[in-house]
């Protein structure tokens, strides 16, 4: 299982990196933490001509709090997120999901940017990004642009990032006092890809749900929103009746495929269970 031969460059500046991306086009893969890419290459499933190692690029490892939100540089590792008081305080949904990401050694090297760029639908971050309506910052030959989460995930491992662009940061809105964040996933073993997972962002006041964004992982080719089910929660108290009425709507929002770990019916069932459990959390924290 030795990765086939490839060329390797390590740019020192963003412009140099972008130059390589343009030069090599589809023959290039960006190497950040390598936790997904190296595994795929060792398994012989990817054979790039060149790896562009971006770990030397400056300015991509910061977590900055601004008016807009919390800006996380692309090279921030999972471990850094896990131990960041800023993330714990301002982006609790992201902070909640990090312990579920693989294992310690993977978290030490894997990056947020790498995860969002790969957009594995079974990964935790894409669902969180979608639930929070985070903004993905891309930089290319034509400059910097921000893409809303809703516009970013296009298909299986397919995103709005053009081949000649680099993902440089993701900005998450800061959690408001009225918001409750619930992340949960069902895995056969700790750190595995989930059978089904839910990143849920609620806004609750006066004992009633004012807003809800429910983003599922492992339920499609991308993270999947459940807008109908979310709509069914509007203006309702988080009760068993609310859950029972709203969960029926999930079938409108979700059409998973069966895979090695779950049938279609199994996944839909688990989606309902996680939905109910997340809404019940609101009853506890309200």
């Amino acid at each position: 299982m030795k990765a086939p031969a490839f060329d390797y460059v390590k740019p020192k500046s963003l412009n140099e990196a972008l130059g390589y991306l343009k030069q090599y086009g589809s023959g290039a893969q960006v190497l950040a933490g390598g936790q997904s890419l190296m595994a795929i290459m060792n398994l012989g499933l990817a054979m790039p001509e060149v790896l562009i190692d971006i770990t030397g690029l400056p300015g991509l490892t910061d977590i900055t709090v601004t008016e807009e939100g919390v800006r996380v540089g692309a090279l921030v590792t999972h471990a850094t997120l896990q131990h960041s008081p800023v993330i714990a305080k301002h982006v609790p949904l992201l902070w909640q999901c990090v312990p579920h990401v693989a294992h310690l050694a993977i978290r030490n090297a894997g990056t947020l940017g790498g995860s969002i760029a790969l957009a594995d639908p079974a990964a935790e971050y894409p669902a969180v990004v979608l639930a929070l309506q985070a903004t993905i910052t891309l930089q290319g030959p034509h400059g910097v642009r921000d893409v809303a989460a809703d516009d970013y995930f296009l298909g299986l491992y397919e995103t709005a990032r053009a081949e000649d662009e680099l993902l440089v940061a993701v900005t998450f809105p800061k959690v408001k006092d009225s918001e409750v964040m619930v992340f949960d996933e069902l895995t056969r073993r700790r750190g595995d890809y989930a059978l089904c997972g839910l990143a849920a962002a609620f806004d609750v006041s006066g004992g009633v749900i004012r807003a809800a964004r429910l983003a599922y992982l492992s339920m499609g080719d991308t993270p999947v929103l459940a807008p109908t089910a979310a709509a069914a929660l509007m203006g309702k108290a988080p009760s068993e009746e609310t859950i029972a009425a709203a969960e029926i709507a999930l079938i409108n929002d979700l059409s998973p495929r069966s895979d090695l770990h779950g049938s279609v019916n199994g996944k839909l069932h688990w989606a309902k269970v996680l939905f109910g459990r997340s809404v019940r959390q609101l009853g506890k924290s309200a």
């Binding site: 299982m1 030795k2 398994l43 056969r188 073993r189 750190g191 595995d192 090695l260 069932h269 269970v273």
Partner: protein, 797 residues
């Protein structure tokens, strides 16, 4: 029973020698280097001109090989050669995996590298030898093979139906079948008050040793000799097989085992790619190494345990078991594996079903069928996990049907502790077992009544916990009845050579091998005890056919019991010889002397008369000072073969406590218990750790592990990400206790313990899950018990 944090009693000082090291939890000091990264596994070895072989493996489950063109491969950088099956066949003859005592077993000849036809996805079809593994792998893309696809048999039912026969010359797809029926069977079942019936399905799964299979073959053309460094459990067996199939005289073949990174039966079989590696070394006259990578491992390490078994149990309305009825269908690969055959696992299921229970009526039917999936063969606990799960499952069904507590039902029906020797309906003879003592101990250890009360209280709150029991018998210390009688050149006899070195230390050579279970440590304990030296003065060497006595190696939980007895006898004999030298030197009667604490001592007073180093000095360097007609013999070899019983059975009972989430179908393992009677315990810590490791391996099969195949015979989950093995977070703490019934077939009295944990765990867990689901009318009959299967059982999906 180990309290969690309590270290087992250890021993370091020489005063322990008087009491003996046997029964002490001495740490394996020989494993210190493994903790320092100084292990010596096959892949760590370097030899001059070492080359590496990579196998081209069939991507198809069944296909004719129309043509192979390796011309472009041979031009690639670093490629030393590229070879087809025909070329390798000139150096390695084919084999057939059949034995005479499995009546009617049949299989087709198998080559090291397939010649005309590939019969499973992953079968080697060509070999590329390179300077480095990397370069050989790079060359794979230049291989040109033309295949013609053939029909694929994946389902056992299709194999049995026989519309398509994989090996037409065999007539059908049945490798082996067996039927037996006791005379009273028909009447018993016709008249029984209660008959319960279930069909249980077990998914095929595999060993997933941490160190993949590895072999390094080094042929020496000058004297037509071959040294093979191999991660194998049975080096002498491999010596015989390499000799016969490569045409090299037996004593010119040397098999050397280095450190082995886990085996569990996976590394006791003959693999075509390993034979090909040796053949290539002979052909190329230089060392060739092969290590399976993880993807190859999933496709080519033996799989095991694919069964669909319908079992019925008859009992009286008062709860007396009258008999069992078994119909077992098991699917192997396209070849029966050599030399132990792929019929043994099913044969064991027939032999062992109903094992712990009193009954006379038994009918069994076994069919072992070929499929175009990976080959299967013996894997830790061989057949026992199946036999125990279906027996214990149907016993629980019977208890439920009658309305009796499962523990009480077992109490009523387990063979009495004084009923021995006992002959079982399948013909097996038990020397002496202790089912009732074990059950008593388990009930106390787990606080059965307390758990039942807790279970009931939690059910009120909508929490569903289950308790599952699994009584078991376990095959250990086999006699030649297992393989030898069938014509296999597999030794049931092992030997130990003990040598007192001049400095007073012991050198111990044993034909049993080490894969981490601690056989070497245990042999050191026995040798030290029986000779009278301290443990740190003993050095043990195993795993070298040129150096140790001839023997069988490690399998069927025989290492400690058989190898240990050989060590014991040799140690006793060596002590006699040591005392003879001392008596000659001291001009005393040997009967007045003993060996203790590394010295010859006065037997009555314990006063030291001469240190062993002095015995050594005189015997080796100053024999001129000894009587003319005296020859010291400070090297002694003894062998041991189990003879009286076909197998020395052990018994035990396990319990599992689980919580099932009826919403998600997830099963949480709360706790596990195992009470085991393996006779004399040589090292309690090592035995308990064998049991724990075995239990967790069984838990894997029960809840997580399955080899999934597509209808086209492609393995779908052959990576560590998709094939799920037990990891630490989901596993429970396991409490162990023992009953001790030594075997009288040896002085040591030790039975085997290596496989018992795996034998009982799946049955215990399945029963626990079904106990948890009972109030919800759920029942699972399929392993692994996945969340999906639980949800289906509950009618939720």
């Amino acid at each position: 029973m180990n309290a969690r944090m309590e270290l087992p009693a250890t021993t370091h000082d020489t005063t322990q020698v008087a009491n003996g090291y046997i029964g002490k939890s001495s740490p394996r000091t020989g494993s210190k280097r493994l903790l320092q990264g100084r292990g010596a596994y096959i892949d760590d070895m370097r030899l001059p001109r070492l080359s590496h072989v990579v196998f081209v493996r069939s991507p198809h489950a069944h296909a004719l090989i129309k043509s192979i063109d390796l011309s472009e491969v041979r031009k690639q950088t670093g490629v030393i050669g590229a070879f087809t099956g025909s070329e390798i066949a000139e150096y390695c003859t084919p084999w057939v995996g059949v034995l005479g005592h499995l009546k009617g077993i049949k299989s087709a000849p198998q080559h090291a590298v397939a010649i005309d036809r590939a019969c499973w996805q992953g079968e080697p079809v060509a070999a590329i030898v390179g300077q480095t593994r990397r370069q050989a792998e790079d060359a794979l893309q230049f291989v040109k093979i033309e295949y013609e696809l053939l029909p694929v048999i994946v389902e056992m039912a299709d194999a049995l139906k026989g519309d398509y026969v994989i090996h037409p010359e065999l007539g059908d797809n049945i490798c082996f079948q067996r039927e037996l029926k006791t005379d009273d069977f028909d009447e018993t079942f016709a008249q029984a008050d209660v008959i319960v019936e279930k069909t249980y399905t077990f998914a095929r799964h595999t060993g997933v040793t941490n160190e993949p299979r590895a072999v390094l073959a080094d042929y020496q053309p000058a004297d037509h000799s071959l040294t093979v460094y191999q991660a194998t459990q049975a080096p002498h067996m491999m010596q015989d097989i390499m000799s016969r199939h490569l045409g090299i005289p037996e004593s010119q073949v040397r098999i050397v085992c280095k450190d082995v990174g886990g085996s569990f039966g996976i590394k006791v079989h003959v693999y075509p790619d390993e034979m090909a590696t040796a053949a290539l070394s002979v052909m190329l006259k230089r060392p060739v190494k092969f290590m399976a990578d993880r993807i190859e491992s999933f496709l080519s390490d033996i799989h095991a345990r694919e069964h669909i078994a319908t079992v019925r149990m008859a009992c009286t309305k008062d709860g007396d078991i009258l008999g069992f009825d078994l119909d077992d269908l098991t699917g192997i690969g396209p070849y029966s594996v050599y030399p132990r055959t792929s019929g043994i696992e099913g044969n064991q299921v027939v032999n062992l079903t109903g094992g712990p229970y009193k009954h006379k009526a038994y009918r069994a039917k076994l069919q072992v069928v070929f499929t175009n999936k990976n080959v299967t063969c013996q894997y830790r606990a061989v057949g026992h996990p199946i036999a125990v799960a279906l027996t214990e499952g149907i016993v629980d069904e019977g208890a439920r049907a009658i309305g009796m507590d499962p523990a009480a039902f077992r109490r009523r029906n387990l063979i009495a502790d004084d009923a021995y020797p006992y002959t079982f309906p399948s013909g097996l003879k038990f020397e002496k077992l202790s089912h009732h003592q074990c059950l008593d101990k388990l009930m106390a250890l787990m606080d059965y009544d307390g758990l039942r009360a807790e279970q009931a209280a939690l059910r009120e709150k909508g929490i569903y916990r289950g308790i599952g029991l699994a009584a078991m018998i376990e095959v250990t210390n086999p006699s030649p009845a297992f393989y030898g009688v069938g014509g296999a050149r597999i030794s049931a006899q092992d030997g130990a050579t003990l040598r007192l070195d001049p400095g007073g230390m012991l050198n111990v050579l044993v034909s049993v091998t080490e894969q981490g279970q601690g056989t070497e440590a245990v042999f050191a304990q026995i040798a030290a005890t029986m000779v009278g030296v301290s443990l740190e003065n003993v050095r043990v060497i195993t795993g070298d056919t040129a150096v140790t006595p001839y023997g069988g190696g490690t399998w069927a939980s025989r290492g400690a019991g058989i190898g240990g007895e050989a060590v014991l006898q040799a140690a006793k004999a060596l002590k006699v010889n040591i005392l003879a030298v001392a008596a000659a030197v001291l001009e005393m009667d040997a009967a007045q002397l003993d060996v203790s604490g590394n010295a010859v001592v006065d037997k009555l007073t314990g006063v030291v008369r001469m240190p062993l180093s002095e015995v050594g000095r005189v015997a080796y360097f100053r024999p001129d000072t000894l009587p003319m007609d005296f020859q010291s013999e400070l090297t002694v070899t003894r062998h041991y073969t189990p003879r009286e019983y076909g197998f020395t059975f052990t018994n035990g009972i396990q319990a599992s406590y689980v919580e099932v989430d009826p919403e998600t179908g997830f099963v949480k393992l709360l706790k596990h218990w195992c009470v085991e009677d393996c006779g004399t315990i040589l090292n309690p810590m090592l035995v308990d750790e064998q049991l724990r490791g075995g239990v967790v391996q069984g838990l894997g099969g029960a809840l997580l592990e399955e080899c999934l195949y597509s209808p086209e015979g492609q393995m779908l989950n052959g990576s560590m990400a998709d094939y799920l093995v037990p990891m630490a977070f989901e596993m429970p703490d396991i409490e162990i206790a023992h009953v001790c019934t030594p075997t009288k077939t040896s002085e040591l009295g030790a039975k085997g313990a290596g496989e018992a944990g795996t034998a009982g765990a799946p049955g215990a867990v399945m029963n626990a899950v079904n106990d948890a689901l009972q109030p919800l009318n759920g029942n699972v009959v399929e392993q692994p018990i996945t969340p999906e299967r639980v949800l289906v059982a509950l009618g939720k999906i």
